[in-house]
């Protein structure tokens, strides 16, 4: 691959991702509305897609207020961290054969590292806001991340064991015949649950919990800084969807009548829809229920899954 090609891929991925993040504003509103027997925004532009434009313009022109009691520099950096870390995670995702920004041999670890970095934005944002609700949100965010980060990593180890590699390209190739969602169903379910918690989307939006904490860690944010959190969240669900597809649903593999990129996009979109459906249908659990569920149910299950996978892998190797 020449340098020029590489730059094109980087720019292309960035362009598509940012547009997806913006477009999801519209998709989410329309889908939520449809599932609630409403129509949703359908006035501006064809099918109301220009609501994205209106929303972005609104975010740009809103007063960008930094509270006088806030820790100014930390307050400003926090939103940048979330968008940055999520965007960096996309680096390792193979969208189609040859279309990957960085084919790292520790790809999966890089993803885990980056998604853990994302929690800094919540903690720092909540801390710098100097507001009790923000701080409570940040605290919840931190403990939720610690809880769910653990078995997000563990749930992926089954895949790594079968493949024998952390490289995302190798993982996709290993699913040529059978997708990992069939050999690792538990891993998939737990990864997805952890992913929802990781992006703190509903029903696991404990750090934001509008009805309890106003807006949680971003209660003090306005204008484009809030917009960064917003984009970070949408990029986050795109990331988890893309990761689920890559790790468990065969990545770009699919019957040959569609190009690999289309298969990848199609599967990712399905998972994006699932994220929104989760938001539309499930109520938010209580904070302690969520943490209890994580440590007492999911962790043992994921450990059992890991051991069984390991045993089978060893057995297959020895025979």
């Amino acid at each position: 691959m020449t340098v020029m090609q590489h730059i094109w891929i980087v720019l292309g991925v960035l362009f598509v991702l940012l547009n997806i993040a913006a477009g999801l504003i519209w998709v989410e509103r329309r889908l939520l509305a449809l599932w609630q027997d409403r129509l949703g925004p359908n006035r501006a532009g064809p099918l109301g897609i220009f609501i994205v434009l209106a929303d972005t313009l609104k975010l740009f022109f809103k007063e960008d207020w930094i509270p006088p009691f806030a820790d100014k520099w930390v307050f400003i950096t926090a939103p940048a961290i979330v968008a940055g870390s999520v965007l960096l995670s996309f680096v390792i995702i193979p969208f189609a054969p040859g279309i990957v920004v960085a084919d790292l041999n520790v790809g999966l670890l890089f993803f885990l590292a980056m998604s853990s970095l994302g929690v800094y934005s919540i903690v720092l944002g909540g801390w710098a806001s100097n507001n009790k609700y923000a701080l409570l949100g940040a605290m919840r965010g931190a403990s939720q991340m610690i809880a769910y980060e653990v078995f997000m990593g563990l749930s992926l180890m089954g895949v790594v064991m079968i493949t024998g590699s952390f490289n995302m390209g190798d993982i996709v190739d290993a699913q040529k015949n059978v997708w990992f969602c069939f050999t690792q169903p538990l891993g998939f379910i737990i990864f997805f649950i952890a992913g929802v918690a990781e992006t703190h989307r509903l029903p696991f939006d404990i750090p934001e919990a509008e009805s309890e904490l106003i807006a949680g860690f971003h209660a003090e944010y306005s204008g484009m800084k809030f917009g960064m959190f917003f984009i970070g969240e949408y990029l986050g669900i795109t990331l988890i969807s893309a990761m689920t597809v890559t790790l468990f649903f065969g990545g770009w593999h699919g019957p040959a009548f569609l190009p690999p990129l289309a298969w990848f996009a199609l599967k990712t979109i399905l998972f994006l829809g699932l994220f929104i459906l989760l938001r539309a249908s499930l109520p938010r659990p209580r904070y302690d229920q969520l943490i209890e569920y994580g440590w007492k149910v999911l962790l043992p299950v994921v450990l059992a899954n890991l051991m069984i996978t390991g045993a089978i892998a060893l057995w297959l190797k020895s025979t």
Binding site: L34, W35, Q36, D37, R38, L39, N42, L277, L278, A280, S281, L282
Partner: protein, 171 residues
């Protein structure tokens, strides 16, 4: 877990249900006859103003948005000299209609009264008065009232007995 999945499925099925949205400017909602909307002052069947300027509506109004001044014509018939409703304050509660003894003030099924200028929401008597009897056709307060205000003579009203001659001893 299973109940969660069931919830998700049921919500998903709503994708294909009929939508409740009424796309307003193109589709209009049906407004029922007793819908409480824009306020009008009605006239009696003979074309006279029904309002007798009794101030009961102004007193009943919880937000004090009705202002009027009663006066009399040469026959002794009372009518409002001016009648002003500030619709930027009206909450369309309908208390004024309930308070009115002559069915003069009525709320009608019309809600499209948006304005760019707040001052335009202050309706004067000529904006409120309509050439119709509204919800109570055939009713004329002065025909059933005891007094003579140029509509009928004393004792000639509906269900009204002729006045008693107080100077006579005959039964």
């Amino acid at each position: 877990m299973l109940s969660n999945l069931r919830t998700m499925w049921l919500v998903f099925v709503h994708l294909f249900k009929k939508k409740a949205t009424v796309q307003y400017p193109e589709e209009k909602n049906t407004l029922r006859p007793r819908w409480r909307g824009r306020i009008v002052l009605t006239k009696d069947p003979d074309g006279g103003e029904r309002c007798v300027g009794c101030y009961l509506c102004a007193a009943a109004c919880p937000v004090d948005c009705i202002a009027l001044q009663a006066t009399e014509d040469k026959d002794g018939r009372r009518y409002p000299e001016f009648f002003r409703i500030n619709f930027s304050r009206c909450i369309f509660c309908g208390y004024c209609e309930e308070a009115c003894p002559t069915y003069a003030i009525q709320l009608i099924p019309d809600f499209e009264m948006a304005e760019y200028n707040r001052q335009n929401l202050v309706f004067e008597k000529e904006d409120l008065l309509i050439d119709s009897q509204g919800k109570y056709p055939g009713y004329n307060f002065y025909k059933v009232a005891g007094m003579d205000a140029g509509v009928k003579k004393k004792g000639e009203g509906e269900n009204e007995e002729p006045p008693v001659d107080i100077y006579s001893l005959l039964p």
